[in-house]
Amino acid sequence: MQLDRTPCVLGEEARSLVKEAKILVVGAGGIGCEVLKNLALSGFQDIEIIDLDTIDVSNLNRQFLFRKEHVGKPKAVVARETILGYNPDIKVKAYHDSITSQEYGVNFFKQFSLVLNALDNRAARNHVNRMCLAADIPLIESGTAGYSGQVELIKKGVTQCYECQPKPTQKTYPGCTIRNTPSEPVHCIVWAKHLFNQLFGEEDPDQDVSPDSEDPEAKTEDGHSMTDTGNVKRISTRQWAQEIDYNPTQLFNKFFFEDIEYLLKMENLWKSRKPPVPIKWEEATTDGEKTEVKDDDNIKNTDMKVWSINKCAQVFAKTVDVLKKELSGRNFLVWDKDDQPGMDFVTACANIRSHIFSIQMQSKFSTKSIAGSIIPAIATANAIVAGLVVLHAFRALQEQYERCSAVYLRRKSKFSKFVLAADNELQKANPVCYVCSPKPFVNVFVNTNTMTVKEFENEILKKQLNMIAPDVVLDGKFVVVISSEEGETQANDNKTLVEMSVVEGTVLKCDDFLQNYELQIAVNHYEAKEKDDPLFKVAVNPEDLKAKEDIKNGGANGKKEENHDEDSDDEPTIVENPPEDPQEGSSSKRRKLNPPEDSDDDLIVLDEIIE
């Protein structure tokens, strides 16, 4: 006998809507598992779930539809099986696939009554946002990060879209900081990850680890750069490493002695910086425990201890050996924070480099937080947010959109009585949003003399503007610059923008067929001057960029003034964003909180994990 699970507490209308609704859940991770359970227990009969991921051990502390024996299997498939095991009467369809793939076009989205996002990255969120706008299907967006979380409705013409507010760009570091002049642990960790990819991973020319002689700061007064002799080897690092059969001593001496010696020759770099101290294998391995920064804390776990240089060198040698073996017979390895040899390798290399540059060394635990951009994640926050998602779903199905204002989960602090707080009203769309406004328009600032068409496509259109398969024509001239048709504009790939007549003032018409998204791009010629300047910029209104820079230059060192004299905390504050999108993915574009009366500022706990 089939049991009617539609809650009687819901009104008559809501109950019939729930029974007929077809729901798409994007993501079967922490929030996704909870959302699926809530849907199945709320009378929903027709659910589809899509997730690209497979199950990892570190998911098991919260993604409760999975067990140990499921590790390695596709999340969507296992989630479906577990839910059906509980309630075989409902229809659940699982896709082990990426939501950004071409099969899931506007028509795919149009078949649903509602889309629920339970994603962990911004690119996919942006994409689903556009698909739902194009299909005009309401979307409920959610995310958690540690104890915090939020839920909001996105509905074309009613609310703002996911991309209405410019989000802080994900933090990237200038190449020369990574290759030449690191000053923070994170720079060394990024370098170590690049080194992993150079030696074992998929090669990426942007991830070069050797000294960069084109560093503008390294240039001498008469403008000459240091492209002399040195050890600029014409063969790739990988090739060389293979030739020496990954001899750890030789590798060590190249990356930590020879390359550093070479860096020291760029004297300009060390005028107002402390020069690095190269270290040889022999020295590192006899150095004993002398250099160990003893973090005598309360935790016994070795992951919490900072390794000595000697230990780093030993780990380096050992992991190079292990990884070399793993690599044999394969094209490349993929670095994963939860894969032990890879994580140990990065910890060791980052610390050796930190030592060389007099940067504080880090424990493996901290290194992992930074390297993997790990956001803490717990079952409780996901349970709360997923419950809120489905409660929003009831209202959205009844088109009671005005009752779907954003809800925030916050860690209680001494200034607040709130645990859950809802916005007073829906957030209105940004009239000049480059995604959801009637005529999307954006300014890009690029060096038209040096940027190639391929770079423009990858860095600007795909990475910055989140298009999947763009077609680009010169406005009014019918010149096709980029085509989504494979090979059609390959000839243009390596041309610079100037060569394609894309210069200051050019307007490009971009069209992403999959996203049903048309965007006009005004091209501005721009050259990065200072070392820390970004290589390119994207903004609807050039004034916005200026305002941002003023803030950046205004406060000491660009950080926000911290004026926490006693009680000034209880004002709504904008919370800093984590470096990358959170694990369960807080949709944290705007964490400005507008609770009814008092409020607090609640920092994302990220600060606490990177001690």
Binding site: L3, D4, P7, V9, L41, S42, V57, S58, N61, R62, F64, Y86, G146, Y147, S183, P185, E221, S272, R273, V293, D296, D297, N298, I299, K300, N301, D338, H355, S358, I374, P376, A377, I378, T380, A381, A383, I384, G387, L388, L391, F394, V407, K412, K417, F418, V419, L420, A421, A422, A556, N557, E562, H564, D569, P596, D601, V605, D607, E608, E611
Partner: protein, 534 residues
Amino acid sequence: MASPPPKSPEQTEKSKKYDRQLRLWGDHGQVLLENAKVCLINATTLGAEILKSLILPGIGAFTIVDGETVTEEDTGSNFFLDYDSVGMPRARVATQSLLELNADVHGDYIDETPEHILSHTQNFFNKFNIVIGTSLPEKVLIPLSKHLWEANVPLIVCRSIGFLGYIRLQVKEHTVIEAHPDNENPDLRLINPWPELKVHLEKTDISKLDNKERSHVPALTILYYFIKKFQEHNNGALPRSRSDKDEIRKMIQESAVCDENGVQILEDNFQEAIHLVNIGINPQIIPTQLKKILEDDCCTHLTQDSSPFWIMCAGLRELVQAEESLPVRGTLPDMASDSGSYIALQQIYQKKALSQSEFVYRRVCQIVTDLGIQQDIISEQEVKLFCKHCSELYVMRGSCIADEYEKNSPDLSVYLEDPDSLMFSYVVLRGLERFLGEYNVYPGHLDDQVEPDVLKLKIITGKLLSEWRCTQILRDERVHEVCRYGGAELHSVSAVLGGIAAHEAIKLLTHQYKPLNNTFIYDAITSSSATYTL
């Protein structure tokens, strides 16, 4: 508090599984969680959801106490009761399916009502670290609350009905060492440094450094130098006001020197010193709430039953009396500097922190000996952690639910002035509990009884309000709404509440983060929530 067991050097399977949460409460929090025994009374949807969120992060063991059998209605909203189990003991079925969530957790059940256990096995509940009760009728809640209050076992009472939710924490005394404050400033002591630090900082004369040396000095040394300069200019007065701080910033800014091309540059470390001005020159004072803790009776009058927390407080108190300041935290923020100078500075802070925590530890050992209690009750590591976090110590003293119901009529009038106050939901829920006690059924549970039940509930809430001397009245629609629910749980509301209640349980078990104090009301219709101290 037990000290963490030794771990093998390689990452264990367990630490991989719990990696993402260890980043919130650490290994020591996890150990407390793994040693915890939790009792759930009534495996309702809400009860099962709470337990789920405790089993996943790995509590040690749970026991379900429930005398009911599974009904069809249960299976409609409870993920852990399937349709085939209708008619079987709810405690058993729920235990079995919850155990599947985590192989590291032990679980058992007692197929008896809580009333039965309370009257037959007096101290049954005392062995738990926390008891969680859902859907308790008043006649069970009152004796349970009294019993656990006496036994000093924390109790969390929760209710989920329709779109309404309620969570109440009853804990006699709860102490927190790691409150994880929102923003923590570094503990630098540049105003009033201890002698070793003073000697070290005064070794450097910023004005006599060459360009290379300048770029190697840690920001702390720079800042200290300019504080001294400021004092010289101001007859020894310490910088206090905002304009004083601005003056120091200006002095640092103006100390910039020229490179060989004549370009004035302010090095990174000097920039950092400017940045530290705001947080780095506040005189170290003992926070009021800490002073209160150190003067608390529990701290000044120790007994054999005193908890490690209070014994450590007593040790800390002696240090504060001797040195007139708190232990130094002993950690420094990262700063641009050559590693030699940085490490030298760091060691001075670490050494001080260590000697202070050793002092406290010695006092603690003495106190423990004097009290004649077990020597190893407090480890040196625990004292270290305690000293490191001493400025954020927190003590919460709760109230007994039985008192709230029987003796101290809560003063709700102030809240009820606001017609939208969630306190009205509290009134409705209290009325509902009394209704349950009187009629043994939820109002509106039977379809043909909705109207009469509305009337009965109206009378009950009216009586309650007049007992509490409140002149406000409950709007009819609130009573109608609750009767419409007929006692039904909405799964998603229970999911939200389950997460919140489980999280409070984790705070209590790990002694980290400040718990709710003490009543939480959630209204899923308006998505609003409120916390009251009753």
